[in-house]
């Protein structure tokens, strides 16, 4: 696979309880990210055990995954801020390199 026509970016995925998602969303928008993807009711097994995923009548006690992509130069401060927030509450953050075809969408 060639990356010749793609631009390198930083991708953050944060999985937190739905009640903590507004604070993460605020950090993402404050960091200048032009958008994010929010997936509610994610399931899986983690540090605190099993999570069943979407619940029919309770969106408050599920997990939400927030995904954002931004230029590497702008990512550091957001990563530090999310790291700080997660130091006192449950949740995980994954940071990775990613490549996009339309860099202007993310700047």
């Amino acid at each position: 696979m060639t990356m010749n026509n793609l631009t390198k970016m930083t991708r953050l995925e944060v999985v937190v309880p739905a009640r903590d998602a507004p604070a993460i969303r605020e950090l993402i928008t404050s960091a200048g990210a032009t958008g994010y993807t929010s997936v509610s009711g994610v399931s899986g097994i983690g540090h605190h055990g099993q999570h069943s995923g979407a619940l029919l009548f309770n969106e408050y006690d599920t997990l939400t995954m927030l995904i954002t992509v931004l230029p590497p130069d702008n990512a550091g401060e957001l990563i530090d801020a999310v790291h700080e927030l997660l130091s006192t509450s449950s949740g995980v953050m994954f940071v990775s390199e990613t490549y996009v075809s339309r860099p202007d969408y993310f700047q």
């Binding site: 960091a31 605190h48 069943s52 006690d61 401060e77 999310v82 700080e84 509450s89």
Partner: protein, 809 residues
């Protein structure tokens, strides 16, 4: 803008529970931020987790707690407490030794007094209330700039601040983040101490802070960074050092006797003068496993176990019958429904069911003549479906709306004249006689006044209308809602008439009216949801889809919506114009049954309602219109348990309107999906309500709203006690007590479920909200596989046979 600082503010505010406005009061556990940790660690300044020692001893004296309860509580909390010992020649069990110690050892109750407010708290409370008050006499200038900026602009000229402080304020950055960062540096707060310092300051004014957190998420006109920006810049300008709130949690053993004294006292009470030092030493070794600091929660556990034992013994093991009922009544799980269901079921061929009061139809609802919308759904959900209603006679509806607008205009102009500087004098001269006469009538004859008001205001009359389910939901959504409701409730056969009764309360001059409405409907009456649900079940297209999924609703079954007025106990059928001629008689029969049941229930409630008499039910009902009445009804006072299972478990049992009842049949839910929905939604809402009552009863000054009699409203946001200070949280004292006596027994929710234990265990293990509540002792869960099986108690290590023991009661 400093992202790190924003993150530190969010981290500091993590455990703060958002506080809904009083206009849409949502019962929440005020200590919900502590739920991931054991219940006993939730104590804090001014927060008591248990009652006083005297209260527990009084309960023991009247048989409300017996020795068997204390022994069961000790066995649960101190598993090592086993074996026997000989004291002065008398053989005793270690548990009985610990029981004797609990009855004799002194401990100091945690004070639940409100800490004195500092000048800074008073100052900030005034500014926040001025900024947020939606209907002040004088609106705060510069509101459009945001809280921090508006305050900074005005405080430069605030004469209550010293000149040097005003100069400092004038030089502050415009952005709250930058001002907060400046203040933290000026105060010398080290980078690693910022979050803890912010957290400590957020513990002051917890009412306003909780409401700001709610507002930041739902409205966005203020946030905690702005609030902390003002707080810290003032602290920096005044040179105030940030300090944690005074008065840390009081340990129960502060006033306790020494271990040796306790041992000697207990040993002598067993062996008298024959007791030697070795006997005392043996006793102290036992008592060391249960220090005095643990006594309060053991007493509380015993208090709760006694209730659970009584409840479990009352629950019967009757099997389901398959004959078709003539009438089915579905009501909210709210404990107030229990009384109505019990009295309605006096008629043998009537069945009742319990279901969340929004009937599985979460909507944002707009009435045809309303100014705005209401979110009629649990606070756990976001409104995604918009339900409206269409009057059948649009010309009449338009005329009614026009009359309503004219009334509103008159009311607004009167209010403006009443609120002006000089106009109130003229208003009093012109119309004072009229308002005086109305006030006298309202005071002396509230029911007559309400009747007159209704007859003179045709714009308030309810016109025939239908709700727009086809616009609000797709067919698949409607069918899914109906299927979910049937499987959750476990309705096997449908009666010719099925009444879905939401509920609402009716009272005058009551800022906490919303707290008496339906919690599952976001603190609103449940009529709209009942109407939508009935329309969905009557929809032939929905029935056709349900049939393909194995749920057959006979063609002669008709669903009607109704609303239960919890003050008068009248159940009013709604949308009467939609009753088909074939079911008019059945509807009439239901109304007759309901009227009898209401009469019985009002008399029953009058026994508990302060100042009421079972001999005068009319006076109980008149409370709905009495503007001087602080006890229109008792709401959910007394709530203590939730039962999930078939009604056959509890039919004919007087549960004293203390139990949330959710119908459920395992047979209709082989995979456990419906049970998981019940356990993660209605159960969670019941727990929120239960803890709201629990902590409002134990901490009326700090986690409750105090007495209604001195409340002042801040618009529709909340209330203050007096004219200034913190926004009050929780329920007013009149919801839990009378005089200096509690009528609400504070007990953590006891949950009973009849369903396969392995299914329940799987559901708990995959839902963190349930693990938090159960493993940390915020609620208890007792279950049995079926009607003939033994009750088992959930523990973090598996199921154990539930201790069901009663003694002397």
């Amino acid at each position: 803008m400093s992202l790190i600082l924003r993150a530190q503010v969010a981290a500091a505010a993590h455990d703060i529970v958002p506080s809904w406005p009083v206009a849409s009061f949502i019962a929440v556990n005020p200590l919900a931020g502590h739920e991931p940790r054991p219940f006993e660690t939730a104590a804090g300044p001014g927060v008591a987790l248990t009652r006083s020692r005297d209260a527990y001893l009084a309960a023991a004296d009247r048989g409300r707690i017996v020795d068997a309860d204390l022994e069961a509580a000790l066995a649960e909390r101190v598993p090592d407490l086993s074996g026997q010992l000989t004291i002065g020649g008398t053989n005793v069990t270690a548990v009985s030794v610990a029981v004797l110690d609990m009855k004799s050892a002194q401990w100091k109750p945690a004070p639940a007094a409100e800490p004195p407010a500092s000048w800074l708290d008073e100052y900030l409370a005034t500014w926040v209330s001025s900024y947020l008050n939606p209907d002040p006499l004088w609106a705060m200038p510069h509101q459009q700039l945001g809280f921090f900026h508006a305050w900074r602009t005005l405080a430069r000229r605030d004469p209550s601040l010293p000149r040097s402080v005003r100069r400092t304020v004038a030089g502050l950055p415009l952005e709250p983040d930058a001002a907060l960062a400046w203040a933290l540096v000026r105060l010398g707060v080290a980078a690693e101490a910022v979050t803890e310092t912010l957290r400590a300051e957020l513990q002051h004014l917890p009412g306003w802070v909780g409401h700001i957190k709610w507002r930041a998420e739902k409205i966005g006109d203020i946030d905690l960074t702005s609030y902390l920006g003002v707080r810290f810049t003032l602290m920096a300008a005044f040179g105030l050092t940030p300090l944690p709130p005074s008065g840390g949690p009081t340990r129960a053993d502060e006033a306790a006797p020494t271990l040796w004294d306790r041992g000697e006292h207990v040993a002598r009470s067993i062996g008298g003068s024959r007791v030697g030092r070795e006997d005392i030493a043996s006793v102290t070794r036992v008592l060391a496993t249960h220090p005095v600091a643990d006594h309060p929660l053991t007493w509380q556990k015993a208090y709760e176990l006694h209730y659970r034992s009584t409840l479990v013994q009352a629950v019967t093991g009757t099997q389901r019958t398959d004959s078709r009922a003539h009438l089915q009544l579905v009501m909210c799980i709210d404990p107030r429904s229990e009384g109505m269901r019990r009295h309605v079921e006096i008629v043998p061929d009537v069945e009742t069911f319990g279901f969340a009061g929004f009937f599985g139809v979460p909507v944002r609802f707009t009435r045809y003549g309303a100014r705005g919308t209401v979110n009629s759904l649990p606070a756990l959900l976001t409104a995604r479906h918009h339900l409206t209603e269409h009057p059948t006679d649009s010309a009449r509806a338009q005329a009614q709306v026009a009359r309503g607008r004219a009334r509103d205009a008159l009311r607004r102009s009167t209010h403006r004249a009443d609120s002006g500087t000089t106009t109130p004098f003229a208003l009093a001269e012109v119309s004072g006689w009229l308002y005086g006469a109305i006030s006298i009538l309202r005071t002396l004859a509230p029911t007559l006044q309400a009747r007159l008001h209704r007859s003179l205001t045709p714009s308030a009359a309810i016109l025939e209308s239908t709700v727009t389910i086809v616009d609000a939901f797709t067919l698949e959504e409607r069918a899914a809602m109906a299927e979910t409701a049937v499987r959750m409730m476990g309705i096997v056969r449908f009666a010719p008439l099925v009444v879905l009764a939401g509920h609402g309360s009716e009272s005058m001059n009551n800022l906490y009216q919303s707290a008496l409405d339906c919690g599952a409907c976001g603190g609103n009456p449940g009529a709209a949801n009942a109407r939508a649900s009935a329309a969905i079940f009557n929809d032939p297209d929905v029935r056709a889809v349900l049939e393909t999924r194995g749920i057959r609703i006979p063609s002669d079954s008709v669903f009607l919506a109704a609303e239960h007025n919890t003050v008068t106990d009248a159940i009013t059928l709604l949308d009467r114009h939609l009753i088909p001629p074939s079911h008019v008689d059945a509807a009439g029969t239901f109304e007759r049954i309901q009227r009898t049941a209401a009469e019985l229930l009002v008399r029953e409630r009058a026994r508990d309602l302060p100042g009421a008499s079972p001999r005068s039910p009319a006076r109980v009902r008149a409370r709905a219109h009495d503007w001087a009445e602080v006890y229109p009804e008792l709401g959910l006072a007394g709530n203590a348990a939730m039962i999930i299972g078939p009604r056959q478990m509890t039919r004919g049992v007087d549960l004293d309107r203390r139990v949330f009842l959710h119908s459920y049949q395992t047979e209709l839910d082989p995979g456990g999906a419906a049970l998981e929905t019940i356990m993660t939604a209605p159960l969670v809402v019941a727990q929120w309500i239960n803890h709201q009552y629990y902590f409002s009863a134990l901490n009326p000054a700090t986690l409750g709203a105090g007495t209604k009699t001195i409340h002042n409203a801040i618009g529709t946001i909340g209330v203050l006690a007096g004219h200034t200070g913190d926004l009050r949280r929780g329920l007013p004292w009149q919801s839990v007590g009378l005089g200096d006596r509690l009528f609400h027994e504070p007990m953590r929710l006891t949950v009973l479920i009849q369903a396969p234990l392995d299914t329940i265990g799987r559901i708990v293990s995959r839902n963190q909200v349930l693990r938090n509540l159960l493993d940390n002792d915020w609620i208890t869960l007792t279950a049995r596989n079926d009607h003939a099986a033994a009750w088992h108690q959930y523990t973090p290590y598996g199921w154990t046979v539930a201790p069901i023991a009663l003694e002397g009661s």
